[in-house]
């Protein structure tokens, strides 16, 4: 029966090609817009690391100026990052099973002169726990261990792309890479790693962009005088000491700090630990603002940092409304199309088709139209997303930042079916109300 | 009242020419009640369309109420239809979305009559056909006979000089047919000219004259003898209304 109905629907679409094309294009435009912007929003909004959402927490402390809050929306905004001195103290806690402070810097890479000129590269500085915490996939070797953080071994992890560039993609574990005036030994090479946003550092550019191409230990911060190339916000008098020594004691916040807490008890314990730390610091004249420490899971953090741009929300709302209007719009066209065929329906009814049969037949026809429009819209949205990707490249996003994944394709088809139903329900209902064989009476 | 001389009407398609009316002539005097009979395809409807200025013709002359109507514009024809002619259709042609009042109102609005006068005319006409209690019913809520009586009220409200009726009882059963024919007879008795197309002999018999059409031509006319006019019994309320 379904097959028969599909056949009727297909025949009917071919009968009035101009009208069918108009109807299909109407749905396709709505679906294309909605899919494009749903996918665009999804690229920002989706959880980049769902597997670790339960256990990973981002640490923020209100170490800011007692006179006024950190600039932001509310009165109790906290700095987005932590100071070095706080990170160093917090890292002494044994509550987290893993923890890391991290920041990005830029260093010159001096490759084999036969390979390329020296080039400046963004490098992530982190502790050994970083790799297992963020489920970083390795192609060759692995991350370094805690001992390397303690002793300051010159070890580095390369991204797949960097390994491709420097070593032609071969297993380069054990080879050396020169950063500025030091040689680093490669201990690991990553496999393809494309989190939707850079979950471990959402402080800049909404986390858009590919992960850094090289990773070295936080142990190298002091010896190499590494400066953050991310945000660094501070307040109050500058420290007496110059350079790194000054940063170590200053109120500059510039480090992203993550902890892995295995269960709710650990989360509660760590929360109390943070509060106790802040109260203790208060005795030394710091943390004079109301107690306001944040221990945020990934979704909460993305919300706080407004990772989803307001443009993405706006455009999604507008395109969904557009889809709604274009399906409403089809009601009139379908009504005309269906009622024009009243004689045929009279015959069908006279030959024993029930109201439900007629309704189902026409709803299926609408859904076929919706699906054809949806598929066309889906194809158009691939073009739309490609266009968005070229626009986003200027913002440093990777070329496939916006993409159609399975949930988005599913959503798109669901929307198409919904649009078909909205457009077709009333005409189909009207059609099935036609009395049987009224039109058999020919004068 | 109506004078047609040598009227020609040809329908052309790519393949054939059909002479719907061929050298058609007819005189109808004021106050007459003429029945036009003929088989289907004999040109009855074509005659009615031309007589009612619903369609144009290709040759001959047509004087309506002494006025030559062969060179009128669409607008002038509309005005004449609106003022001088009343139509009674086989399938009533009431407007399904409008109630009795609004349906009778339709031609009056096109005459741009003031609201008070329209209201009075509608009330009188609907009363004449005995449907005062149904003023705000929709056509779908009325029987066929009642619908045709509404259509007749629509004619009466306009007070036309000529009524053209197209198989007025064609879609009605015997009882209802009789009511409608009674009504037409009463209207004619008050001096309104009626030309009625029908193929029901019992209806044609009510007319003062019968004309037979064959292949677009009048074949013979028969004048009933004076005093032979049959006056059938009239339903009580109709009689009261017409009194």
């Amino acid at each position: 029966m379904l097959l028969h109905n599909l056949h009727i629907a297909w025949k009917s679409m071919q009968r009035n090609r101009a009208l069918s094309a108009l109807i299909v294009v109407g749905i396709a435009l709505g679906i294309a817009l909605s899919t494009t912007f749903a996918a665009a929003r999804h690229a920002f909004a989706q959880n980049p690391l769902p597997a670790k959402t339960k256990v990973l927490r981002y640490v923020r402390l209100d170490s800011w100026d007692p006179q006024k809050a950190y600039p932001g929306d509310g009165a109790n905004t906290v700095p987005t990052q932590v100071t070095y001195r706080d990170m160093a103290e917090l890292m002494k806690s044994k509550i987290p099973v893993r923890q890391t402070g991290t920041f990005k810097t830029m260093l010159y890479v001096f490759p084999d002169p036969k390979v390329s000129r020296p080039f400046k590269e963004t490098i992530r500085v982190c502790y050994a726990d970083f790799f297992p915490m963020f489920a970083v996939p390795f192609r060759y070797g692995s991350g370094w261990d805690a001992k390397a953080d303690a002793s300051g071994d010159p070890v580095a992890v390369l991204s797949r792309e960097m390994n491709e560039k420097l070593f032609g993609g071969a297993d380069s574990v054990g080879k050396t890479v020169r950063l500025e005036d030091r040689d680093f030994r490669v201990v690991g090479v990553l496999d393809a790693w494309t989190p939707s946003v850079k979950v471990y550092d959402l402080t800049q550019n909404r986390g858009v962009g590919a992960p850094e191409n090289m990773f070295i230990s936080f142990a190298w911060w002091r010896p190499m005088n590494l400066r953050t190339f991310g945000n660094s916000d501070g307040w109050g008098p500058s420290p007496a000491q110059r350079g790194i020594e000054g940063v170590m004691v200053s109120e500059q916040t510039w480090i992203q700090m993550w902890v892995e807490l295995p269960d709710a008890d650990a989360v509660a314990a760590y929360r109390s630990f943070l509060d106790a730390y802040a109260l203790d610091q208060r005795r030394h004249g710091r943390f004079l603002r109301p107690l306001n420490n944040k221990l945020s899971a990934i979704p909460e953090l993305m919300d706080d940092f407004r990772i989803v741009p307001r443009e993405a929300n706006t455009l999604l709302v507008v395109s969904l409304l557009f889809l709604a209007i274009s399906s409403l719009n089809l009601v009139g066209l379908l009504l005309g199309k269906f009622l024009a065929r009243a004689p045929e329906i009279g015959v069908r009814r006279a030959l024993g088709a029930s109201r439900l049969d007629i309704f189902v037949q026409h709803i299926i026809e609408c859904e076929v139209i919706g699906l054809v429009g949806g598929l066309l819209g889906l194809a158009l949205s691939v073009g739309g997303l490609a266009l968005l990707n070229t626009l986003m490249k200027a913002q440093g996003a990777r070329p496939d930042f916006f993409r159609l994944d399975t949930p988005m394709v599913g959503l798109s088809i669901l929307l198409a079916l919904a649009a078909g139903f909205v457009a077709g329900a009333y005409p189909a209902w009207r059609t099935c109300q036609l009395p049987p064989a009224l039109h058999l009476k020919v004068s | 009242m109506l004078s047609m001389r040598a009227i020609q009407k040809v329908y052309r398609t790519d393949l054939v020419e059909t002479h719907a009316l061929h050298d058609f002539s007819l005189e109808v005097k004021a106050g007459e009640f003429v029945a036009l009979m003929g088989r289907s395809g004999s040109g009855k409807t074509t005659f009615l369309n031309i007589a009612g200025l619903l369609d144009t013709f290709d040759g001959g002359t047509y004087l309506l109420d002494g006025e030559d109507v062969s060179r009128l514009t669409d607008r002038e024809m509309s005005v004449i239809r609106n003022h001088k002619i009343g139509f009674v259709f086989q399938s009533f042609n009431l407007i399904p979305d409008l109630d009795v009042f609004d349906n009778v109102d339709v031609p009056l609005r096109y005459r741009r009559l003031p609201a008070a006068e329209r209201k009075e005319r509608i009330a009188r006409a609907v009363e004449l056909v005995g449907l005062s209690s149904r003023l705000h019913h929709l056509p779908s809520q009325l029987s066929g006979g009642q619908q045709q009586r509404v259509a007749i009220a629509r004619v009466l409200a306009g007070d036309p000089r000529l009524i053209l009726a197209d198989e007025p009882t064609g879609n009605l059963d015997t009882l209802m047919s009789r009511e409608v024919m009674d009504l037409l007879e009463r209207i004619n008795a008050r001096g309104t000219t009626i030309v009625m197309v029908t193929h029901a002999p019992e209806c044609a018999a009510r007319a003062s004259r019968e004309i037979h059409l064959l292949d677009g031509k009048v074949v013979d006319t028969e004048q009933p003898a004076a005093g032979e006019v049959r006056v059938p019994p009239v339903s009580a309320n109709l009689a009261a209304a017409l009194a």
Binding site: L22, G26, L29, Q67, K68, P71, M106, Y108, F110, P118, N225, R227, P237, A240, R242, R310, N313, T314, L315, V317, V318, L321, S326, L328, V331, G332, L333, L335, G336, L339, L391, A394, Q395, Y426, S443 | N49, G52, L53, L54, D55, R75, S78, V79, R81, N82, F87, F89, Q90, S91, N93, I95, P96, D97, D102, D105, V106, P107, R109, Y110, D166
Partner: protein
């Protein structure tokens, strides 16, 4: 006018007309809010930096040769670079500054009028040299700018001062205060000192260091993460480090951008090869910054056009359907004396009623949608004139879309009435 009967007849097909009412209402709501969002985006895009954006090049030098780690070598190379760049034909002015307009950020600090106990005022802060204001095309309009001698003297003075840790006083701030001459933007001058001339006045930061206002520029707008887009302070200094490299702004003669860009990269590398260079036009930087707004603008404009098109199609479709369905009725009306213009007017009036009902509902929806956009998406309140404009536009679109099918209705032959089904 047959207003009453039309309205009464319409109540017999509530769903059908209701759909168009809803469609018109949603269209008005979406179109007016789109226009409002477009105006927001245009306001953003229309903000002028106040600089000669179209004729400015941004050059970034990133050294890798170890020689650059030596301070003397580094500052010599900056001076050499400025020389080389200044000699390129078509170059009007050159500057070595960390300030890069249109990148959506920069550096900032907090200051307040010296001696006041008032709130700290956040402002953007950048170094400038003798060419900075000429290069930006935002001249010092009050007071003076900086000279080469001043820049070099300041470099030397600050290097000496900051070579060692500064001794702290009781309050934790350095004992010996630094005082620098600065040029500030007009908006910041107003914020800090009100309407009077700021020349000769002083600002201080949280270290107690002093900033002595010697000049004012009128035009400065650089979008920042915090609402300090127009508050700027420039101090005399060159800017170059081994790690951060050095950046130059070049202002060219109109039309010389391309040739200068090519020449700049070549001659800088020829002067010193131990580094990588990146040359961009300021317009490129600006386009990158404005890309999201441009996208919104483009998409919303497209949506408006498509929506008007789609809604008009819907009205055409429904009127066509109405006319086709009522062919017999039209014939009857014509038989009863309706003129063609009466039929045309009937459909136009019917549509006008539907559109107007839709627009009334649409005004409510538009306001509701706007409230949502304002609350959820931080959009701006809609201007009432957009509503008025949208209503007029949709009225016109509705009448136009009805016209063709209604004309077809007016052409229905009156003889249809005698056709029997």
């Amino acid at each position: 006018m047959e207003f009453g009967p039309i309205l009464r007849a319409m109540t017999r097909s509530k769903v059908r007309y209701g759909l168009i009412v809803l469609e018109v209402a949603l269209t008005l709501a979406v179109v007016t809010n789109c226009v409002s969002l477009i105006r927001d985006a245009q306001t953003q895009l229309g903000k002028e930096s106040g600089f000669d954006d179209a004729n400015i090049l941004v050059v970034r030098s990133q050294p890798f040769a170890p020689a650059f780690q030596e301070t003397g070598y580094l500052s010599n190379s900056v001076r050499q670079d400025l020389d080389v760049l200044g000699k390129i034909p078509g170059v009007k002015a050159v500057s070595n500054t960390r300030f890069l307009p249109w990148q959506g950020g920069g550096s900032s600090t907090e200051t307040r009028p010296a001696g006041s106990k008032g709130p700290w005022l956040r402002n953007q802060i950048y170094n400038a040299d003798e060419g900075t204001f000429a290069t930006l095309g935002s001249p010092v309009v009050e007071g003076r700018g900086f000279t080469r001698g001043e820049v070099e003297a300041e470099d030397a003075r600050l290097a000496a001062l900051l070579a060692n840790s500064r001794e702290r006083g009781e309050d934790g701030t350095p004992k010996n205060k630094i005082s620098q001459d600065v040029v500030i933007s007009r908006a910041f001058a107003r914020l800090a000192f009100g309407d009077g001339s700021p020349l000769g006045k002083r600002l201080e930061d949280s270290d107690g260091d002093q900033y002595h206002v010697v000049g004012v520029i009128d035009r400065f707008y650089n979008p920042y993460g915090w609402p300090i887009h127009e508050y700027a302070m420039f101090y005399p200094s060159s800017s170059a480090t081994y790690a951060g490299g050095s950046a130059y702004l070049l202002r060219t003669e109109p039309g010389a951008l391309e040739t200068v860009a090519a020449a700049a990269e070549k001659s800088l590398l020829a002067a010193n090869g131990g580094r990588n260079l990146r040359v961009r036009t300021l317009d490129e930087v600006k386009r990158g910054f404005q890309a999201p707004q441009r996208l919104v603008l483009g998409v919303l404009s497209g949506v408006i056009v498509l929506l008007l098109f789609v809604t008009s199609l819907g009205i055409i479709g429904l009127t066509s359907f109405s006319v086709a369905e009522r062919t017999r009725q039209i014939g009857t009306r014509r038989a009863l004396g309706a003129q063609r213009s009466d039929i045309l007017r009937y459909f136009l009036l019917e549509n006008w009623i539907v559109t107007t009902l839709g627009l009334s509902l649409g005004v409510l929806l538009a306001v509701a949608l706007n409230v949502i956009l304002v609350n959820q998406l931080r959009a701006h309140r809609m201007d009432g004139s957009y509503l008025a404009g949208g209503v007029l536009l949709l009225w016109a679109a509705g009448l136009l879309a009805t016209w063709l099918p209604a004309l077809r209705g007016a052409r229905v032959a009156p003889a249809i009435a005698t056709r029997n089904v």
